[in-house]
């Protein structure tokens, strides 16, 4: 076994930044402008209507103190640079080269309200990246407006709604059919768009049966939304028949490519018969993630659905590029403007750096790495692979269960996740709901991590299995080597307790300006 890290996080007991400093503390002291300068520019540079009347409530600390404080805070996190085999998320390194490209003034200092003539470079990248995604999917047009995967799924639901409305059949086409192991955003967004949700359970093969699909679809079906492979990591080889069965009743077919990593370069959604698909640039294409923040769900569809896309669409126009807003059948907007453009640029940089062969190879590596993990995990007593009767190799991830060791020791998947952090390893991803496998965890190695990293991760899991047997209480009370121990979750379910801003904290805690404690 590898030597496991002897790790302990830093623990700084200091107040939140709003409580730090002293009156008059400041970052920099700027000299007053010389008389000639004041005279030249005038005294009232800020129009009276725009000038604030009161002083902003900011901490009065020095630049040095601010940096020290945030360094301390960063030391109390795992830093997102550790070994994080976080399944269903396809964790990838976000290259500094791509980051640097987005900091260039040609991108950082432009605004979507500028005239498109002055935005040709950015539009060219959007257009060319659209072309790259077309070649990976066979679709005819991509848009980047959606701020994440769920947002792209919602785009599909809205496009389907516009499509059926245009045909005068929205009143009849009221249902969306999906699998219980498709990403939960598929049923959620379809429901938000007004569709009734019909789920299919997994059957003996580890994916839903074609019979169940055929029983579910009818002239009431507006669309089907699927992942393949889903989170069990099993590829559904009947997918063409699935699409055919849906098409026979006239339903639209959407391929949620959240789990694209294991099949990228290997298949085309369009060739399988799908009408539309979605890629997550913040996972598969190496751009950074952020919880509900600057992510991108790239949504692509066939020419038949393209009139219903959200606007604007980036199009080639003569020698240049333009924004096409004149699309009368469009479903409207999913978000404002064109999407999180820096993310598109980073994904474009990733795709250009990888090339078609590199993308193909990366998917091979991700599948090999996962099957290596499967083999080693299966040698640890107390773990059980889901669908043990299915002999097909898993794709880029596999759903596992701690049920045997949980039965034996009472130590479950949440306890394991907490304990992993004690070794400086990011807690694992368990499962989307509902948990159809008891005490689940879902590792995904991807193409990033070395064999040494993957071995380290597995060794930590094996070590925690030993600890669960020898000292279950220690595992159940983990983490012990972190800045904070277990967090009581109740506050997250009570809006009167949580606070995202200092102002909200003061209001909700009923404290005056002298409030102490963390928000």
């Amino acid at each position: 076994m590898t030597d496991l890290p002897q790790f302990h996080a830093a623990k700084w007991d200091e107040p939140v930044v709003m409580e730090m400093g002293r009156p008059g503390g400041r970052g920099q002291h700027f000299p007053a402008p010389e008389a000639e300068v004041s005279e030249a520019v005038g005294a009232d540079l800020i129009p009276a209507a725009m000038a604030r009347k009161d002083r902003p409530e900011l901490p009065e600390i020095t630049e040095f103190e601010a940096q020290r404080h945030y360094l301390h805070l960063s030391q109390m996190t795992l830093g997102m640079m550790g070994i994080s085999l976080f399944g269903t998320c396809t964790m990838k390194y976000n290259s500094k080269t791509a980051e640097f490209a987005t900091l260039r003034p040609e991108l950082a200092e432009v605004h979507p309200y500028q005239h498109p003539e002055t935005l040709q470079g950015v539009l060219e990248i959007m257009h060319d990246f659209d072309g790259i995604l077309r070649s990976l999917s066979g679709m005819d047009q991509f848009v980047f407006q959606a701020g994440g995967g769920a947002n792209a799924a919602y785009t599909m639901a809205c496009v389907a709604r516009a499509y059926w409305q245009d045909r005068g059949k929205l009143g009849e086409r009221t249902e969306m059919v999906t699998s219980i192991q498709a990403h939960p955003c598929n049923p959620a967004t379809a429901a938000a768009a007004g569709f009734k949700v019909v789920n299919l359970p997994l059957e003996e093969n580890g994916y839903p049966s074609l019979d169940a699909l055929k029983a579910a679809v009818s002239e009431r079906t507006a669309l089907i939304m699927l992942n393949n492979p889903d989170d069990m990591g099993i590829y559904n080889p009947e997918i063409k028949e699935w699409v055919k069965a849906a098409k026979e009743v006239g339903a639209l077919c959407f391929y949620d490519h959240a789990n694209f990593n294991g099949v990228m370069g290997k298949l085309s959604a369009r060739e399988l018969g799908f009408d539309a698909c979605m890629f997550m640039l913040h996972k598969t294409f190496g751009a950074p993630k952020a919880g509900g923040g600057p992510a991108v769900g790239a949504f692509g569809c066939s020419d038949e659905l393209a009139p219903y896309l959200p606007t604007p669409v980036v199009v080639k126009s003569g020698d240049g590029y333009a924004l096409d807003d004149d699309r009368p059948k469009s479903m409207g907007k999913i978000r404002e403007f064109w999407g999180n453009v820096p993310q598109v640029v980073k994904a474009y940089a990733w795709a250009r750096a990888m090339g078609a062969e590199g993308i193909d190879l990366a998917s091979d590596i991700s599948v090999v790495a996962n099957n290596y993990m499967d083999k080693r995990l299966s040698e640890i007593e107390g773990l059980a692979r889901s669908n043990p009767g299915v002999s097909a190799h898993r794709m880029e991830m596999t759903r596992w269960s701690l049920e045997p060791i949980a039965q034996e020791t009472g130590v479950g998947t949440v306890d394991f996740a907490n304990r992993m952090a004690d070794y400086g390893i990011d807690p694992w991803w368990m499962s989307h709901e509902p948990w159809i496998v008891a005490e689940p965890f879902t590792p995904e190695a991807g193409e990033l991590w070395s064999k040494e990293d993957i071995d380290m991760w597995i060794d930590v899991v094996a070590k925690i299995c030993e600890e669960a047997r020898s000292d279950p209480e220690m595992v159940k009370t983990a983490p012990h080597n972190q800045a904070i121990a277990q967090v009581k979750g109740d506050a997250f379910e009570d809006p009167s307790k949580w606070a995202m801003t200092w102002r909200a904290w003061k209001r909700k805690s009923g404290e005056a300006d002298t409030a102490r404690g963390a928000a």
Partner: protein, 374 residues
């Protein structure tokens, strides 16, 4: 400060005896004797001790009420717990011991028992209303929703409760199920809902990183039930089968369900309560019929287990299209196989209703499930 939770402990020392020697259960003294003759070794006591050892390690000196000997006290001896032992009038070696012990603990807030489904029935049937029960899994059959996943998990849950550590959720309608052992030995699974009990559940402790808050399954069920009520047709008789899930339809319509029996509704009103097969035939005569059903936990029985009052004639009139099935996604996910089973007593009818049915899992949310003949 709130009064600390008062915990009682009862062990059924015979629980689980039948399992290791292939007897499928240990209900009744004859089977106990048979199991012992086959060389079975009692497991319940040592398993309860594992649970209590975990409690003592987490909360040293925790207070516990129990009864003498193998029914409780023997298994906590030497552990760091403040045990109060209450005498029993007479020890018989039968279920009567459990009943007496429950009565001796009438002042407890939570009764922890070591046993299986049979013990769960004995305890749940006699606890005062409002008293919780929690099973340390020791039996052969454990289909009831009142068991912790392991002895250690039971101990940890008790420690969480005593320390006021969250999150612990209380379920006021956990289903206490049991299977007819004679039928099981004959190769038939016949689960039945006997009681509803209050039980603590280990809360999620899920990180909110990506999963978000856990679903409120009770709310999902009420959403599904409300939709059924919205869609009810004038002039159609709705037969409401036993169980919490089917009963939710009665609740959504503003009625209290029988839960352990079958009710019927017509035009929004209750026209039969805890009805027999004959009464159901009578109230539905001359009307179209739809049958509202839940699914038995783990086995997935739809018809023919615990709802025999819904007879073949009635089922045939409703047809597969007239079955309205409710079950939340967590319950469907927990089924041993992705199937719903029917055993109406009429093989032709079983074949007719085999096929796919849409289980209502929430408001405007359904799951396609395959019905098969058992």
């Amino acid at each position: 400060m709130k009064r600390p939770l008062k915990i009682g402990l009862i062990v059924n020392p015979n629980a689980g005896l039948g399992g290791a020697v292939g007897l499928k259960g240990t209900d009744g003294p004859d089977i106990v004797a048979q199991a012992l003759a086959r060389g079975a070794v009692a497991q319940a006591g040592p398993r309860v001790r594992r649970a209590m050892a975990r409690l003592a390690a987490r909360v040293p000196g925790a207070a516990l009420v129990t009864v003498p000997g193998a029914l409780g006290a023997e298994w906590v001896e030497g552990l760091d717990l403040a045990t109060e032992v209450r005498a029993l009038p007479q020890v018989t070696g039968t279920a009567r011991d459990t009943w007496q012990a429950v009565m001796a603990m009438a002042d407890c807030d939570l009764i922890v028992f070591g046993g299986g489904d049979g013990t769960a029935r004995d305890v749940a049937g006699r606890v005062p209303s409002g008293t919780g029960i929690l099973g340390v899994p020791c039996g052969v059959k454990m289909h009831s929703g009142v068991f912790a996943i392991s002895p250690e998990a039971a101990g940890a849950l008790l420690a969480d409760l005593l320390e006021g550590q969250g999150p612990v959720d209380w379920d006021d309608a956990a289903e206490v199920m049991d299977i007819d052992e004679d039928a099981l030995r004959a190769g038939r699974i016949a689960p039945r809902l006997y009681e509803q009990a209050r039980t603590p559940k280990a809360g999620s402790r899920i990180q909110a990183s990506k999963g978000g808050p856990r679903k409120d399954w009770g709310a999902e069920l009420m959403g599904a039930a409300a939709e059924v009520v919205q869609q009810m047709e004038e002039g159609t008789v709705y037969v409401i089968g036993p169980g919490t899930s089917a009963g939710a339809v009665m609740r959504a319509a503003g009625h209290a369900p029988t839960v352990l029996g079958t009710d019927a509704m017509l035009n929004g009103a209750v026209v039969a309560r805890d009805a027999t097969a004959r009464q159901l035939e009578d109230v539905s005569a001359g009307h179209p019929v739809k049958i509202v059903l839940g699914v038995t936990g783990q086995q997935g029985f739809l018809l023919g287990r615990g709802n025999q009052q819904i007879g073949p004639a009635l089922i045939r009139r409703a047809g597969r299209g007239g079955l309205i099935v409710l079950g939340t996604e967590d319950k469907i996910a927990a089924l041993a196989q992705p199937r719903l089973w029917v055993d109406t007593g009429d093989p032709d009818l079983d074949a007719e209703i085999s096929g796919f049915v849409r289980v209502r899992t929430g408001y405007r949310r359904e799951m396609m499930m395959r019905i098969a003949a058992s």
